[in-house]
Structures are given as C-alpha cells and as structure tokens.
C-alpha cells in the first residue's frame, strides 16, 4: 500500500484548537512542511504572540517562544541576534502585526533582521471575539463596528505588505491566500522562498496570508472561503512585492 498523505514532522501530534473551517491549520501545516523540506526543523525557533495562534507552541515541532501581543518581531530579533545560525520565524495575526505591533514589525524590517514573518490576515480580531482590526474591510461588521466599518471614523484598511515593501531591509514581501488549492500551492512556495531568503542571510522576509475566520465573520466555513475570494482579494491584491534579485 502506498502512502499518499501523512502528517508532517513539522507539527506535533497535538490536536488543533482552531474552529472548524479556520485556515490557521492549513497555514501551520504549510510552515511545518517547509521547515522539514528545507531540513531546518532542528534549527528552527518559532515565536508565537497573542492571538488565536498563541498556542502554536504546542503545534510546531520545534523550539517555540511565546511573545506578548505585537512583540514577536522584537523577541525574534533577540533570538536571532544570539543565534545567527538558527532559523527564526514569527507567526502573527493582523491585530497583532498591523495594530499593536506596528512599531516592532516595521523596525525589524527596517533593521533587515534575518528572520521570517508569517502574517495571518483574517480581517478581524479572532481570539478576543471579532472586534475590528486595522485590516477589517469597509462595511464589514465587527463587534466594535456593529454598523460596519466606516472609513470616515476608522480610516481605510491597512495594506501591510505594500507598506513594508517600501522598506529596504524587507527583501522578500509577498501576499498569498489559502482559500483554494491553487492559492495554497502558491502560499507554500512563498513561505519556502521567505525561509530561503533568511537562510541565505539576505534580510527580512514576510508572507502575508489571507485567511478565514468563519466564527467571527459569522458565516459557514464554505461561505467564508467565498467571502475571502469576493471581498478580500479585490482589496488585498495577491502577488510578490519584493524579492531579492537573482544571483544576489
């Protein structure tokens, strides 16, 4: 009998606590697979700050470091400066990275810290129960935007990848999605490339991954995949914003 699908060694046996239909799980798996395929699981140190993925330290099968809300890039800076030969990554939500942790992510990029950020953008605060995030779309309802997000009082959703791509130290910046199979394949490629950039010592890399939160979007898992495609993709265009020049 041939095996066609199996667990990745990049993840532990622990069962995810994520809601049904949440794509955090898919993203975990992609990161785990990439660490194994690049042969760096034993050198990996992950940083998981507050958010639905705060328990990621139980899931990734490598050394893990918890961080306060938004501070993962600072914690990762400390780790990577002590262990320059290790492979360090942060796994952050959009409330975490695009709100409370903007200073930390911008300056990690600005210094060109040699770690990789996995940025999960689900346009909402998941863990605390669906409050508005800086990435929440105009008109999208959130528990702190019960009438839908209003640009006049809350501004326009932040496009972090575009912003970070203006920083020289951020040598790899790509936005991907995991709402369909083609997207998942591309997402994995981008994650792999981001880690390769780190391993080559070229600078800071970030992959923004559009992700679902059926629970706080208040729709079913299947509807949420469609909602992501129809609402998030037009505002958050997929693609690469920065990549190191070949041969560099």
């Amino acid at each position: 009998m041939s095996t066609i699908f199996e667990r990745t060694d990049g993840l532990t046996d622990k069962q995810f606590h994520y809601c049904p239909g949440c794509t955090h799980g898919v993203i975990h798996r992609l990161v785990g697979e990439v660490l194994v395929e690049l042969g760096v699981l034993g050198k990996a140190v992950g940083v998981a700050p507050v958010g639905c993925s705060v328990l990621a330290y139980d899931y990734f099968n490598c050394d893990m470091h918890e961080a306060a809300h938004g501070r993962a890039p600072a914690v990762a800076t400390g780790i990577k400066r002590v262990l320059p030969d290790n492979v360090v990554f942060t796994y952050q939500g959009d409330g975490d990275l695009a709100s409370i942790g903007t200073a930390e992510i911008i300056h990690a990029a600005h210094r060109g810290e040699k770690f990789t950020t996995i940025f999960v953008n689900n346009a909402i605060y998941g863990m605390t129960g669906g409050q508005m995030a800086p990435t929440t779309l105009i008109g999208q309802k959130a528990t702190t935007a019960p009438y839908g997000r209003d640009a006049a009082t809350t501004g326009m959703p932040l496009r972090m990848s575009e912003m970070l791509a203006t920083i020289d130290g951020a040598v790899f910046v790509e936005r991907v999605t995991v709402h369909n199979v083609a997207g998942i394949r591309k997402a994995k490629k981008a994650i792999k490339k981001a880690f390769e950039v780190q391993i080559a010592g070229l600078g800071f890399g970030i992959v923004e991954i559009l992700s679902t939160c059926p629970t706080n979007w208040g729709i079913t898992p299947v509807e949420s995949l469609k909602w992501l495609e129809e609402n998030m993709l037009p505002y958050y265009p997929l693609g690469n914003f920065r990549t190191p020049e070949e041969g560099k």
Partner: protein
C-alpha cells in the same frame, strides 16, 4: 586588578561585559545614555551585539528573546523608559528567564526631570507589570558597589531564572569614582537546558512561555514562583548597618541618599548625638531583619529623594514598634546633610 576612574554608566557597562554579557538592547534616555553608548562601542570588539531598539517596549522584548535563547543579556533605561519595560519584565518573570535591567532613575511623574531621583521605588519593588511576580532590586550607593552588584546580578539572575534590577539614581550614573572589577563569589549555576536554541533533532522542543489558561495550572505556577521568591527573601537580603550600635535615632536610606545620611550621622556624632543608618542594598527583598538589630533605637526616619515611598517598607519592617518619621527632597533636589541633621534634632527634641 588596578583601579580605574570611570563614570558610573560606563562602569556598569564594563561590569556587565566582565560578567559575560555580550548582548545589549536599549533605547536612548537621559541620564543613562553613556551606558548604551559604551556598549555600542565595546560589544563589537568582543563579537557581541548592540541593538538600538525602536522603543523600550521593543528593547525589553528583545531581551525576552535573547534570554530565552540562553544568552546573558542586559538593557538599561531611566524612569519613563522603565515604565514601558514593565510589560516585558512581567513576561520574563512569568516565563522564568534571567536578565539584568538597569534603571538610572530620574524625577517624575510623567516626563518629570533629568536630575537624580528615587521616585521609582514603588515601580521597582512592587512590580510595575501585571501579575504575581517579584524580582531582586539592587540599590548601589557607590560606583564600586554598582560594579560588584552588576557583575553578581548576572549570576543571581541565572541562579533563580529571574530578572534582576540594578537601580541607581542619576548620581550613580553620572559621577566618576575609581573602580576595580573583581570576580564574584562562585555559585553553582544550573545548565540552561531550557533555552530555545533549536532541537538539532536530538531532544523534544523547548517552549518559553508564560501562558497557562487552566487556572489550576496557573496557580501551581504562581506557587512555584512564590517559593522561588521566598528563597530570595531567605538568601539574598543585603544591607549595611552604619553606626547603629547604641544609636537612638536610626535613619533608613539607600543609594546616593545613604551617602549623604552618613555625613549627617557623622556630624550628629560630633555633637554627641547618637544616630545610625540602616542602608538597604537590596530594596526587594527589603532587609526587615535589620530592624531587629537596633535595640537602643527610639525613632526611625526614612530619608529619600522622593515624597516617601520606601517609608512604607520601613513601616512594615518596624511593625508598629517605633515612631517613623520622614525627610525627603524630590524632583531632582538633593537633600543636604545639614537639613538631615536639623530633622534629627527636631525628632529627638521631642517636638512631635
């Protein structure tokens, strides 16, 4: 080793390097700037790392990461910056990591001033961060003591897996004195087998963490931490008794203020008035037992460069036995020996 004349901030930096600290993360603020500047100059020479963080919040979280990765690491700041570091200090204490944090404190509240002050006593000893945690606070009174305590702080931090604060007022940071760099007393330090250095596919993953969602688990963790704090109270209390034998009036003062009080004690002695000084060297744990060693005392007076913060601990240690008085200058104003002598006479004169 020969003595060298150094500025306090630089001497503390040199002490950290002597203790094996190769990773420094900080953010500029007066009156501690010479410390990060010194580290930015010296650490690259020994293959160390200096990072000027984007904020004190980031600096302390870099410390959290570096300490988790097993390094001896230090940050320094001054009062408003220390306020920002409290989040990280709470996490570091919760996750049980060692590090050394220097506060060259200035007047407050708010932006306050940049002159020496001891108004961060509460912040330092009560924990400005959230949760049930404690950390040692060393309050050096001379530069030599600042050097010795900084070197030792790294061992203490490693031994207990806990942050240690070195609290100097602006005077300690700015003045110059001759110092020498001595080896600390040898301690058996536990291996850092908990550090997140990568599994190398040889062991189970290490996790650095302060989260415990299950209340029973968190209570267990809190009790474990508390046992550690109790061991510190048992073993790490330090204080100096200055001319307390036979003294009727006992001053309590730390840091620079203690130096001034010593002058006042000497001046009172010359006038035939018996006064002495309890000088806490650790502010937490507070030297409660020193207050059992002053049988002739009739009154206590806490002298501080603040409106009265340590006095709360003096009252707890005194436990209602003696009247407790206060004398303080604040905002960057320095108490004079003459004013302290006056206060002593007023108290002993039975004015109150």
């Amino acid at each position: 080793m020969a003595k060298v004349l150094m500025k306090g901030n630089e001497a503390i930096g040199a002490a950290a390097i002597k203790a094996g600290c190769k990773f420094f993360f900080g953010y500029p603020i007066t009156p501690q700037n010479e410390l990060p500047e010194f580290m930015s100059r010296e650490l690259p020479k020994i293959d160390g790392v200096f990072v000027q963080a984007e904020s004190e919040v980031a600096a302390i979280n870099m410390i959290y990461g570096a300490a988790g990765a097993g390094a001896r690491t230090m940050t320094s700041s001054s009062s408003p910056g220390m306020a920002l570091k409290q989040e990280g200090i709470s996490y570091i204490a919760g996750a049980e990591l060692p590090c050394v944090i220097v506060n060259i404190s200035r007047g407050g509240p708010g932006l306050g001033g940049i002159q020496p002050s001891q108004a961060d006593y509460f912040q330092s000893t009560r924990g400005g961060g959230n949760g049930d945690y404690r950390h040692l606070v060393y309050a050096p009174s001379t530069l030599q003591e600042a050097v010795d305590l900084t070197i030792e702080a790294f061992d203490i931090a490693d031994y207990y897996r806990n942050p240690v604060i070195v609290l100097g007022d602006g005077m300690i940071g700015q003045m110059m004195e001759p110092v020498e760099f001595n080896e600390p007393k040898k301690r058996d330090l536990p291996a850092k087998d908990w550090a997140t250095t990568g599994t190398e596919d040889k062991r189970r993953p290490n996790i650095i963490n302060s989260l415990a969602l299950d209340p029973a688990e968190l209570e267990k963790h809190n009790i474990k931490l508390d046992n550690k704090y109790k061991a510190m109270e048992e073993n790490e209390v330090r204080y100096e008794m200055y001319k307390t034998e036979g003294a009727e009036l006992i001053f309590v003062a730390y840091g620079t203020t203690a130096r001034i009080v010593k002058n006042a004690v000497d001046a009172l002695e010359a006038e035939g008035i018996k006064a002495g000084l309890i000088r806490p060297i650790t502010l937490w744990p507070f030297p409660n037992k020193a207050f059992n060693e002053i049988p002739t005392a009739k009154a206590l007076v806490s002298v501080e460069m603040s409106m009265g913060q340590m006095i709360d601990d003096v009252k707890i240690a005194n436990n209602g036995k003696l009247p407790v008085h206060f004398y303080g200058r604040t905002g960057g104003m320095i108490p004079t020996p003459e004013a302290i002598v006056e206060k002593a006479k007023e108290i002993l004169g039975g004015g109150k």
